[in-house]
């Protein structure tokens, strides 16, 4: 190679290197004047009551912390399906938001706490006296190795059976308390030309949601809890029974379930085209938005006295750019004022046990009573019971199961998923 070529090549490389070093030095240099205080909150609350609730909390935050600019970083998509990968990209890339929405339970601990991305919040919990106001069931789900890592804003109940009281009273039906009653009622509805169970699983989580509620009913709270730590076998007769029931239930769902979302399925119930739907208590907010006042609710078969819970929480990432503001946000998120502003609008109950029931509608009042006395178990479909890895694996099993209804195949795949998630041996 000629000398000229080598010289030219070296010049190019040196220039590129110089530009790069200059740029990175610039980036590392301290910002001369600290920019105005900011707070960036990452969530997937973009529609209806959830957005309204979030904005209400922002209003209170602005009053308490004047001059702080709030950046509302949202990624739309139900259950955070689109938001979570976006958050991971930011966290792994070293650009975390100041605080982000994350489901209470394994989604928080397995994804973020064990991997060392979160700051412990024990001082905040002590300072605010939260150990006295959050129920023990919630504190247990929040805690990892003796420390708290996030602040729960709300509680949703996953196991609710919704029905149309007009249709039920016209036919003198009562909500089924057992699976036998459920199937007997389903036959009656079928005879009337009504789809017994409305399902809208265009996003597969709705089927997984149904599966978790069936499992909670078929196994009972103790055995259900055991599934998530490996003490209840996935290969045993209990899970087989749950799958058998689920397969049978799927024979009674609306034939177009794969084309509908959960709220479209609920619309079938509202119009009397379907008899019941099993869905979380965000259905209540949907009913209110649709002006439907004849809604009835009951615990789905086998789950009276069991509260399958999920919660949205906020935590503090270790590299949060504005930790002071983030702490002020967390304080607000856990406070009575913050939760009373957020939850009636969002359609959930407070994670605190001292909120004023007078602020809440009829359904949420009953939920608050159940919350206080029921056995609390974690939701699978909404991140409380299992790690994201495990949930993704179960999503795959249920996607296949909803179409082929092959119980033996699904049970083997569920048992394997537990091993792959490193919970079962």
């Amino acid at each position: 190679m000629s000398r000229k070529a080598i010289v030219a090549a070296v010049v190019v490389v040196v220039v590129i290197a110089a530009v790069w070093i200059y740029r990175s030095a610039q980036m590392r240099a301290p910002v001369p004047t600290p920019a105005a205080a900011k707070l960036e909150i990452f969530s997937w609350w973009t529609t209806g009551g959830e957005e309204a609730g979030l904005l209400k909390m922002f209003d209170i935050f602005r009053e308490q912390n004047p001059g702080v600019e709030i950046i509302n970083a949202t990624v739309a998509g139900g259950a955070g399906f689109e938001a979570k990968p976006a958050l991971k990209a930011r966290m792994l890339g070293g650009d975390p938001p100041d605080s982000f929405q994350v489901h209470m339970g394994r989604e928080l601990t397995d994804t973020w706490v064990i991997t060392g991305f979160m700051e412990a919040l024990d001082d905040l919990f002590k300072q605010e006296g939260w150990e006295g106001v959050f129920p023990p069931g919630v504190l247990a789900l929040l805690k990892h190795e003796g420390s708290y890592y996030s602040v729960p804003v709300n509680i949703h109940r996953s196991n609710v059976l919704w029905y149309n009281t007009q249709v039920f009273s016209a036919n003198m039906w009562t909500p089924p308390a057992t699976f036998d009653e459920f199937f007997a009622l389903a036959e009656k509805m079928k005879a009337k030309g009504i789809a017994p169970l409305a399902l809208g699983d265009v996003g597969i989580w709705a089927s997984v949601h149904l599966f978790e509620v069936v499992m909670a009913g078929a196994l009972g709270p103790e055995k259900y809890n055991g599934l998530w730590n490996g003490s209840t076998s996935w290969s045993g007769p209990e899970v087989k029974r749950a799958l058998d029931i689920m397969a049978r239930m799927l024979m009674y769902v609306n034939p177009d379930h794969s084309a509908l979302s959960w709220d479209q399925a609920n619309a079938l119930v509202i119009q009397g085209k379907a008899g019941m739907t099993i869905m979380g208590d965000w259905v209540d907010a949907d009913n209110l938005a649709k002006g439907f006042k004849e809604s009835g609710w009951a615990p789905p078969p086998g789950t009276r006295g069991t509260f399958v819970a999920l919660s949205d929480t906020f935590g503090l990432p270790k590299k949060s750019p504005h930790p002071t503001q983030a702490m002020a946000w967390l304080k607000l998120a856990g406070s009575k004022a913050g939760q009373e502003a957020f939850n009636p609008v969002k359609g959930s109950i407070c994670a605190r046990s001292d909120c004023d029931p007078g602020l809440f509608g009829p359904y949420l009042k009953t939920a608050m009573q159940d919350w206080a006395r029921d056995t609390i178990v974690p939701s699978l479909a909404h991140g409380a019971a299992a790690s994201e890895t495990w949930v993704a694996l179960i999503n795959d099993v249920i996607t296949a199961f909803v179409t082929d209804r092959d119980v033996a195949k699904a049970q083997a795949a569920l048992a394997k998923a537990c091993v792959d998630a490193k919970v079962c041996k």
Binding site: M1, S2, K4, A5, A8, A9, V11, V12, V13, I16, F81, K84, P85, K88, A89, M91, L92, D110, T111, W112, T115, G116, F117, D201, V202, I204, N254, D256, S258, A259, L260, Q264, A265, A267, L268, I270, Q271, K273, S387, E388, T389, A392, L393, D396, T399, A400, V402, T403, D404, A413, K422
Partner: protein, 327 residues
């Protein structure tokens, strides 16, 4: 070999892109291979060597089996539809239609749109409608006007396959091929909606390729064929189409590699679909990696896809390079 200043300059200008390609293409391919041989599951890296375990796991995974079926179905239908439509449009336009340039731009225009936009638009057009309100939208409105039943499109979980107890299934059974009689060798109906959207986008591109080829077709050849007594159909069959063969090959390769690694269209339109009816390896890779945090498994899927596309592309590149250098 002595380099003159021209060559030196050329080399100097090439160095940055060679360096960038080396790092950002081949470097990251190497990195992905390495990850795919590791045990990295969870957000924190774990480079413990596990050999081909992730690949073995993948080939046993029923979702991956379905993905392979879907990719084959998608590729076959997309190639068939795009090639025939593209060639047909090109032949029509080549006959000197009035306003040809308008039609040409019209058919080629979808190519300028990203698959995400195509996916969103066709998700609306092929929306199954809201059964609760009985409101139907998009293409289903046309079907309803024509008195046809409306379709579930990409939300249809039906898989058409050879029934083992049907006449064809029994024949296959007698031939010892009963393995072919199952949903894994079927056609997922929902996939056809994706094919429609992709065909809308890609057939104009094939048309443009063929049109360019036809413009290079020497008129004398046509005349000569006519003098030899060939009819119009025979001219196309025995003169024009063989002349266009290199273009057909290029179009097949380009479409083929697009369809093998399709992601954005499916992600925007239907995601995995009911019972994985529209799931493809790239989407499986995305969910495995970024929802399931199973980075090593995701890397294995990525590498399998890379190998599949390479099987198609590398011989083609070798062939064109040999032609260019060999003259």
């Amino acid at each position: 070999m002595r380099l003159n200043s021209d060559r030196a300059l050329a080399l100097a200008l090439l160095v940055p892109s060679i360096a960038a390609t080396a790092v950002f293409v081949y470097g990251f391919i190497g990195w992905t291979v390495w990850v795919s041989l590791s045990r990295w599951h969870g957000l924190l890296p774990d480079f413990t060597w596990v050999g081909l375990a992730n690949y073995a796991e993948l080939f046993r995974n029923p979702r991956f089996h379905i993905d392979v079926r879907n990719t084959v179905v998608f590729t076959a239908f997309l190639l068939g539809a795009c090639m025939s439509l593209g060639l047909g449009l090109a032949l029509l336009l080549d006959r000197g239609v009035r306003g040809e340039s308008l039609f040409r731009s019209l058919f080629f225009f979808p190519m300028a749109i990203s698959f995400i936009v195509t996916g969103v638009a066709w998700r609306w057009l092929l929306a199954p409608g809201d059964v609760a309100t009985g409101r139907i939208t998009g293409v289903n409105v046309i079907l309803a006007r024509l008195g046809l039943p409306h379709l579930k499109w990409y939300t249809d979980h039906t898989v058409l396959f050879i029934q083992p107890d049907g006449p064809l299934g029994q024949l296959l059974g007698r031939l010892g091929l009963e393995a072919l009689t199952g949903p894994l060798f079927g056609v997922p109906v929902a996939m056809l909606s994706i094919v429609i959207a992709a065909t809308w986008q890609m057939s104009g591109f094939v048309m443009a390729l063929y049109l360019a080829g036809l413009r290079g077709f020497p008129e004398e050849l046509r005349e000569a064929a006519r003098i030899d007594g060939a009819g119009e159909w025979q001219i196309y069959r025995y003169v024009v189409l063989p002349f266009l063969r290199p273009i057909t090959l290029s179009a097949l390769i380009i479409l083929g590699h697009v369809s093998l690694k399709i992601f954005d269209l499916v992600a925007a339109m239907s995601k995995r679909g009911p019972g994985f009816a529209t799931d493809v390896p790239a989407y499986f890779m995305f969910e495995t990696t970024f929802h399931g945090d199973r980075f090593a498994q995701g890397a294995a899927i990525a590498i399998v896809m890379l190998v599949t596309v390479s099987v198609l592309i590398v011989p083609y590149l070798a062939y064109t390079m040999r032609k260019e250098t060999g003259g």
